[in-house]
């Protein structure tokens, strides 16, 4: 497409036929035979085949789950870790819409999109793990509300938060499709959705930890504490930030042609700011971990094999990334920031798997190890999310600027009132 502005994809113009436009957009953009595609494509295909196998042969034939270990990596990694990784959305929207830190405005859409897709794919993977998925509607419809269950809360919050995130992202869809009126309505819902979404996020980030409060006799005492929910929510901050930094660094290169010169210039500032926040969260988290350890008087457990694992987690994946983030932010070193983010993200995987899988029944002989099918499907879910992200980012105004008419639309809204006044509902 030869348009004058090469940095934006062609959105639907006013009057252009919607179906024709959509058909055009469905076609792949960019090179197909990239190294990433060559690896991820076959894994996704294999994953799809294996998902069919899971639904035709059952959980027993495809997973290593057992009576002793009812939850494996589909819960421990896909859901518990995936949701922590999606935390960037609630933190960045909090900074931009509640604290009005406009500096981060340019990464809101990418972060929210990533968060939304993460929920759709990772939480969606939950249905693979359900033994009786055709009953999945039960917690939503009347008669069987298990209100004393943390999982009930988590399920509802997943559902509501996915909707909130979709509303937060929907203006981009409307801009892509050139639907001005809809864009105006959806744009006005953003702040409400953001605030609602932040509340939901805080509760289910901690809620995922609270799930394991019901297993006091089964989780290793170094990981079981009544403060699991607090630890989960604090660690979700640097988990989210790390993923935003990793995604931001990759996107900055991969979608370089879509990003405006202004946003290019500001990118480093944003990354440094996020790293500082991640470092602060890591410090608070480390402090709390120490507090919990001191409080529980379990130093003797540190000199056991599980204790070594605990030390690796806390020193190697909390203290170390903290130091890297601090140094990287001081020197404005892109590589340091990225490696800090990767290490702390790996640390989150380790921590979430420790609580949900590794330290769970650490005493039992024949501990659960995921089957290759579980691993391939998990990889397929991750790659599927990246493909969906790329598909959207290449078409909708995520990294690229919104179409020009949006600016006039926003000005219109502003002009109906004097500067600094409060928005009244537009009456006609």
């Amino acid at each position: 497409m030869n348009t004058t502005d090469t940095s934006t994809p062609a959105y639907r113009r006013v009057g252009q036929d919607l179906w024709e436009f959509l058909r055009e957009e469905l076609k792949p953009k960019g090179k197909l035979l990239t190294p990433f595609n060559l690896i991820s494509g076959p894994i996704i295909l294999l994953g799809l085949v294996l998902i069919i196998l899971r639904f035709t042969k059952g959980l027993g034939a495809t997973t290593n789950l057992s009576q002793e270990f009812p939850w494996g990596i589909w819960i421990g990694f896909d859901v518990v870790t995936g949701v922590a990784f999606a935390a960037g959305a609630y933190i960045v929207t909090f900074m931009v819409y509640v604290l009005r830190m406009d500096k981060y405005h340019s990464i809101v859409r990418a972060t929210v999109l990533n968060g939304f897709l993460a929920y759709v794919f990772y939480a969606g993977a939950l249905t693979l793990d359900l033994g009786r998925p055709w009953k999945i509607i039960n917690p939503i419809i009347g008669n069987s509300f298990g209100v004393s269950s943390v999982l009930f809360l988590v399920a509802w919050h997943f559902l509501l938060y996915m909707m909130a995130q979709f509303i937060e992202f929907s203006p981009a869809v409307a801009e892509w499709l050139g639907l001005k009126k809809l864009r105006k309505i959806l744009g006005s819902l953003t702040v409400g959705a953001v605030i609602f979404g932040i509340c939901l996020s805080m509760l289910h980030q901690s809620g995922l930890g609270a799930l394991f409060l019901l297993a006091p006799a089964k989780i290793h005492p170094l990981w079981y504490t009544e403060y699991i929910p607090v630890l989960f929510i604090v660690s979700s901050v640097f988990a989210g930030m790390s993923i935003v930094i990793i995604e931001g660094t990759i996107s900055h290169r991969a979608f370089s042609h879509l990003i405006s010169t202004k946003n290019h210039a500001e990118h480093m500032d944003i990354m440094v700011g996020l790293s500082r926040l991640a470092a602060a969260a890591l410090f608070v988290y480390f402090f709390m971990k120490i507090l919990v350890l001191v409080h529980s008087m379990q130093f003797h457990l540190l000199m056991t094999p599980m204790g070594y694992l605990y030390l690796v987690e806390v020193i190697g994946f909390v203290v170390l990334p903290f130091l890297i983030f601090v140094t990287g932010a001081k020197n404005r070193n892109r590589k340091l920031l990225l490696s800090g983010a990767i290490i702390s993200a790996v640390g989150i995987i380790l921590n979430r798997l420790n609580v949900s899988v590794i330290a769970f029944k650490w005493y039992a002989p024949g501990h659960y190890v995921p089957s290759w099918i579980e691993i391939v499907i998990t990889l397929a879910v991750v790659f599927g999310e990246i493909w969906a992200f790329r598909w959207v980012a290449n078409r909708m105004p995520v990294f690229s600027e919104s179409p020009r008419w949006v600016k006039t639309l926003d000005d219109e809204v502003k002009q109906t009132l004097p500067a600094g006044a409060v928005v009244q509902p537009v009456k006609k």
């Binding site: 604290l99 009953k135 509340c199 019901l214 502003k414 500067a419």
Partner: protein, 286 residues
């Protein structure tokens, strides 16, 4: 200012509504206050059990499962499964030689599995037994994570998998019969009755023959009390019982968190709207 306040009130209203809607109040009130002394219960006296497996056979018979083949043997403890709801294991003890102990669902007074279940498929009946309801369960297996005794078993091999566990023959109880295992026991090692009466009997046995029993009725206080009660001549650790579970009812462990949910939904939106107002600059939209 006017609209801000109105919006604030609106959102607070929404939050209160959501809080009331999602609050855990009713369930806890109901579980905690229920009188359990009239619950159906069973007293297993391990000093009387001779490991004949009549209970296992009666259980298999009643549930149409294959009859047990393995015998209770020292050093190879068996566990219950999807087609075995109760097993008798042999334990070698320090002072009393070989002692047999039957295991099955403990039918806790405040069950972890029930508080874990998000669809009320695990259900504590008014009569005492904890049952599983097929039409509600979605197969998440959180009950298996929560149960301190690892009782619920999941049919991994099935495409329509069920959770299997002892339900104290709830169907027989409603027909006025006693559980199959209690009826079958030739040694009268399994007594069936009301929890309060069984506790009296247990205490009397300990009082009458203090040398034969340890002064501990397992299940009287464990995890807040269970409807399966045990007597033994040796400390319960020697019979493979978990004695590190404490006396706190399991729902208590998540109670604080669940109580904080309505509070957070109430306060957080107000706080954030306040912050958003406080950070407003001149040219900013509301």
């Amino acid at each position: 200012m006017k609209t801000t306040r109105r919006k604030f009130l609106q959102l607070t209203g929404v939050a209160v509504g959501a809080g009331l809607l999602m609050g855990p109040k009713s369930t806890y009130g109901a579980i905690a206050k229920k009188d359990n002394s009239q619950h159906y219960a069973m007293l297993n006296d391990t000093t009387r059990c001779n490991g004949c497996q009549a209970c296992e056979r009666a259980c298999a018979d009643k549930n149409c499962f294959p009859l047990p083949e393995a015998k209770p043997e020292i050093g190879s403890p068996r566990s219950s499964g999807t087609e075995v709801l109760t097993v008798v294991n042999a334990h070698s003890t320090k002072n009393k030689g070989i002692v047999f102990a039957k295991t099955q669902c403990m039918h806790c007074d405040q069950p972890a599995c029930v508080s874990a279940c998000l669809v009320n498929a695990m259900y504590k009946t008014d009569e005492g037994p904890v049952i599983w309801r097929e039409d509600k369960c979605m197969g998440c297996r959180y009950c298996m994570i929560a149960c301190p005794y690892d009782v619920p078993k999941f049919e991994y091999g099935s495409l329509n998998p069920k959770i299997r566990k002892c339900i104290m023959c709830y169907d027989r109880l409603t027909e006025g019969q006693m559980p199959a295992c209690a009826e079958a026991c030739p040694q009268e090692a399994i007594l069936f009755g009301k929890r309060r009466e069984l506790l009296d009997i247990a205490r009397k046995r300990i009082y009458d023959r203090p040398t034969e029993y340890v002064r501990h009725i397992y299940g009287e206080h464990e995890v807040g009390g269970t409807n399966m009660l045990y007597l033994a001549g040796v400390p319960f650790e020697q019979l493979g019982f978990r004695t590190d579970l404490g006396t706190t009812p399991y729902p208590e462990y998540t109670k604080t968190f669940l109580y904080s949910v309505p509070l957070a939904l109430l306060l957080a939106p107000a706080f954030m709207l306040g912050l958003r107002h406080a950070t407003k600059g001149k040219g900013d939209k509301d």
